[in-house]
Amino acid sequence: MEKLLEQIQKGTVWQFPGGVHPPQQKSLSNGANIARLPLPDKLVVALKQHIGANGKLLVEKGQRVLKGQALTKPVANWSVPVHAPSSGIITEIAPKPSAHPSALPELSVVIEPDGKDEWCTLNPISEPKTLSHTQLVDIIHQAGISGMGGAGFPTYIKADTKQKIDFFIVNAVECEPYITADDTLMREHAAEIVQGIELMQQLLEPTVCIVGIEDNKPEAIAAMTKAAEHNNKIIVQTVPTVYPSGGEKQLIKLLTNREVPSMGIPADIGVLMHNTGTLYAVQQAVYEGKPLIERVVTVTGNTIHKPGNVWALLGTEIKHLLDCQGFSPVPQQRVVMGGPMMGFTLPTVRIGVIKTTNCILAPDHKELAEPGPEKACIRCSACADACPASLLPQQLQWFAKSKEYDKLQEHNLFDCIECGACAYVCPSEIPLVQYYRVAKVEIKEQQAEKIKADRAKERFDARKERLEREQEERKNRHKRKAPAKSDDEKQKVADALARVKNKSNDGNEKSAVAAAIARAKAKKLEGQNTEIEPDNSEVAKERALRKEQARKYKEQKELSEDATTPDDKKSAVAAAIARAKAKKAAQAQGAQTNLNDANTAPADDKKSAVAAAIARAKAKKAAQAAQANTDDADTAAPTDDKKAAVAAAIAHAKAKKAAKAQGAQANTDDADTAAPNDDKKAAVAAAISRAKAKKAAQAQGAQANIGDADTTASTDDKKAAVHAAIARAKAKKAAKEADKIEQLDESNSTVEQADNVKYESSEADSPAENKKAAVTAAIARAKAKKAAKEAQQTQSDEDTDQVAKTEPETPSEATPEQTAAEKKKAAVAAAIARAKAKKLQKEGNDQS
């Protein structure tokens, strides 16, 4: 330290590696004194002009402020206030384009100066030595002073450094070409700057203060030396003109031969640095009580008529500066805020001057040529030779292009100060600094995401653990309770089970059914059937019931069965048909009670539903004037759920066909009349009858209008469907109007009508464009014939017999001895047979 101090006092200047010598171009703007500009029309004061946080707004729109009045007050850490640069009215507090290449909007206060430039109350301190450390720091803080050399670090924080400072360095180097702001400030206000230095010395108490000035500013050097000669702790040191000797790290190395540790601050090595402009502002804040509201800005470039330095109020739009100094833009004009090496282009000139704006450069293309196309890197290492931080820019750009972030970190990307010396010398004109800026941001983003991801993983793990724990507890809870079942509970459970069993044993039907099952089993044992009985006890019960009913009907009707045929099947078929006829007769006679019986008999819901279906089917047949009733077997058949379903389906289909052919409104009514007393049954029946009604309506519509029939018989299925839908709708309406119960009379009459209509329709059918139409017509005719032949049942019976020879014996004749399976098969086969019969009949009757 001693040795170092000696060396410094002797005037030793060390060196940093690299560096370039761009043309200085200082003479453009360092000729004249700092000019004062007229007040601009508006001042756009950004709330944040430093590294840190915004202050809290103290003013609002429409308020009149005085020059130097605080617009914000510092709140959080690192927040610095801003002040009104002139007196006037606040016209807006809104986001305005910021001083950044992106010009992203940032909150700003827009003041319209009233021209009076009236100061607020100032508190100058004539004897700052009387101030305490805290007071002095507070004055600096409240004056809104942040680093004016370019970075904008809050000065009060630096001034309040707790670490021991050996060397306080004043950065008056101004190494960037074109910029002469500090140069002229030092020439004109060297005394104030030295006062500012002394204030800092009061705060920091450094061993020595070194003012570094480049040797291209002889007048400034002279002025500062003269102003500081009374203070032997201030050394004015000239340094050779090299870019970037004004960089903080480089200047420290130049003047003290110490290196700032990577990711550290100069205070770590006992050094602190301030810009001359900052020190001038500090002096103004203390001695004049004036907050930071203006700064020296160099306005220069070949397109500026009067290049030079001006006192610019903070918030002055760049446009005003350019206009005051005269500006003749060239095509593809660039306006750079800052110097040519590190400055950034502005997308608009409607941006306000901020505390770190030291230069506005508006070059033409002769002095600063536009960059050529980027070529491949030839690894000439001119960039590495120029780098002041001893990095390897050629490797960094290689890794940045290939996004190898870990290699970039290995090669110390974050030690790059973005001075631009590497890109300045690159023969391939690669925009190296841009690649590094982008890479730095990408790495930072990656690190931030990693932190987020780690936290998310932590949370996820904790949650998983918690869920597992809860699951364990739940399991354990269950385990714990199970063995603790008391005897009472067990008894309760047993009682409940018993009740259930008892319930299931209630009912006469059950006993009857059980008897039937018993009989069946007995038969089985007798060896009549070797097939294994399927487990369908309920179905068996139903079957038994139906059998009983059928037997009843048989007795009642006393129809002459076809006893001649020795074939069981034939007889069964005949019996079925007979039953159907009987039913019809019963219906015709208003024997609704039969249906009701059939419907009411089964106590079981299922049975009732099935029975309802059967009844409805029968009703359909009746309504259709009994022609379309090879379904008799269908309706009589169901001893089986399946059979019933199949039968019902076939019945529906037939009914549909019949309805189409006949258009019997009676269908709907019959369907309705078929509705059983039971509510459920009624609902189900109603639904089914509605469907039938639809069909009927379709048919009705068809018969009512030849056209309708045509349309239904149209070749286009879609059209038919549409018309069918319309017909259904109509039918629905009709159904709603009709009574659900006891309209047999109507049905009878409608049946007669249907008969007539049927005849009509069959004749009215359009010359069979549609197969279906012809088919339905044929069926209708067949049915009509059947109806006509009702009286002569035997004949029809014979016909059907002949056709249905293969029909298995119907379940109505089936004895309980027969197995359920057989019955099932029988029913299915019967259905199929009936269908075939129908077909044959239709064909047979077609010719007639």
Partner: protein
């Protein structure tokens, strides 16, 4: 008013690739002049052939790659390769030698690897080695100094010889190569090597007329010419001093040690430095930026190892001259050298 956006820095040193390459080509001129003076204008014919060939091949590849042709040609790197190749091959080599060399160096060694800046090996040297290994007869058909040639031929005769393998009077290349004493002349390095193998001492061998008191007659001046060009490049800061200095220094050191150890069979430092392609290699070939090490510390190691390999191959290897082989061998080692020779960054592990 619409303002143009650009990223800093906004000024540039006006160093450009084209300028760089053309400066290097210009620095070859003293050596070229020496070659023409001592060995005839054959080298100029090869130069023209090479120029035409590289232009054609580079343009063709750029068209295939759908890249702008002139922007690739205008950076001058292909022409520099042509110059270096033309200077490396015997002046009267048949025309197809240089064409094949250019094809290999431009299309395969440079463009197939990715174009300028992406090639792993020095294109001129890779082509030279290909030719040497594939066509040893033609590639070792060096000429004697014109003074010593028994059948010196004029320019048109040389053209004829290069394109048709025979002069108009029917002399073949071998006959043209014959020296005044009737024997075909080899290069000085080759002569020493064969003589020592036959049992002569170096000093005895150096009594032959092809040698002057230092090294081969014409060859010494060619090397001095390239040395002058190289010093010019250093002054212009086109190349860094690290590679030439370390190469020459290492070769000098190795040959000095060899000479001290075996003065009879070792020709010594001056001979090594002024013979063969030493100076051209030191300033023009080993300094090719793309294939050489890119850190300064790395360059020192790179140059030194090249010098060592040149000495070893010349003394103990099968070929008389070894610069091409040594350079190619060290090209392979460059990524490793670069990785381990990163400079100390500011603020890391500093003193104080």
């Amino acid at each position: 008013m619409k303002l143009t956006m650009a990223s800093s820095p906004h000024n540039h040193s006006h160093k450009s690739l084209t300028r760089l390459m053309l400066t290097v080509i210009a620095a070859c001129i003293p050596g070229l002049i020496a070659q023409v003076f001592f060995f005839g204008t054959g080298v100029l014919i090869q130069l023209v052939l090479a120029f035409v060939a590289v232009t054609a091949f580079e343009a063709a590849v750029m068209l295939i790659r759908k890249r702008p042709v002139w922007s690739a040609l205008s950076d001058g790197s292909a022409w520099l390769t042509a110059v270096l190749l033309a200077l490396s091959i015997p002046p009267f080599a048949p025309w197809w030698i240089v064409i094949i060399g250019c094809l290999f160096s431009i299309v395969i060694v440079k463009q197939l690897y990715g174009g300028l800046g992406f090639n792993l090996f020095n294109p001129a040297m890779a082509a030279y080695v290909l030719l040497l290994v594939s066509f040893p007869v033609q590639m070792t058909a060096w000429l004697p100094v014109t003074d010593l040639a028994s059948n010196p031929i004029g320019f048109t005769e040389q053209l004829r010889l290069i394109f048709t393998d025979f002069t108009s009077t029917g002399y073949s290349l071998d006959q043209v190569r014959a020296g005044v004493d009737g024997t075909t002349m080899a290069t000085p390095l080759d002569t020493i090597k064969t003589d020592v193998a036959h049992g002569l001492t170096v000093s005895e061998s150096m009594q032959k007329p092809i040698f002057n008191e230092w090294a081969g007659q014409g060859w010494m001046w060619v090397n001095l010419g390239f040395l002058a060009g190289g010093l010019y490049l250093l002054k212009e800061k086109v190349i860094n001093w690290h590679i030439p200095v370390s190469f020459i220094g290492s070769l000098a050191l190795c040959s000095a040690i060899g000479y001290i150890a075996a003065p009879g069979t070792e020709p010594g430092t001056v001979f090594h430095l002024l013979s063969g392609a030493t100076m051209m290699g030191a300033f023009f070939i080993a300094t090719d930026p793309v294939s050489a090490s890119t850190t300064n510390k790395g360059r020192l190691i790179y140059g030194a190892l090249i010098g060592l390999f040149v000495y070893l191959i010349r003394t103990f290897g099968g070929f008389p001259d070894a610069v091409a082989f040594a350079v190619l061998l060290l090209n392979i080692a460059v990524p490793l050298i670069d990785y381990y020779t990163q400079p100390r960054t500011y603020g890391h592990g500093a003193v104080k």
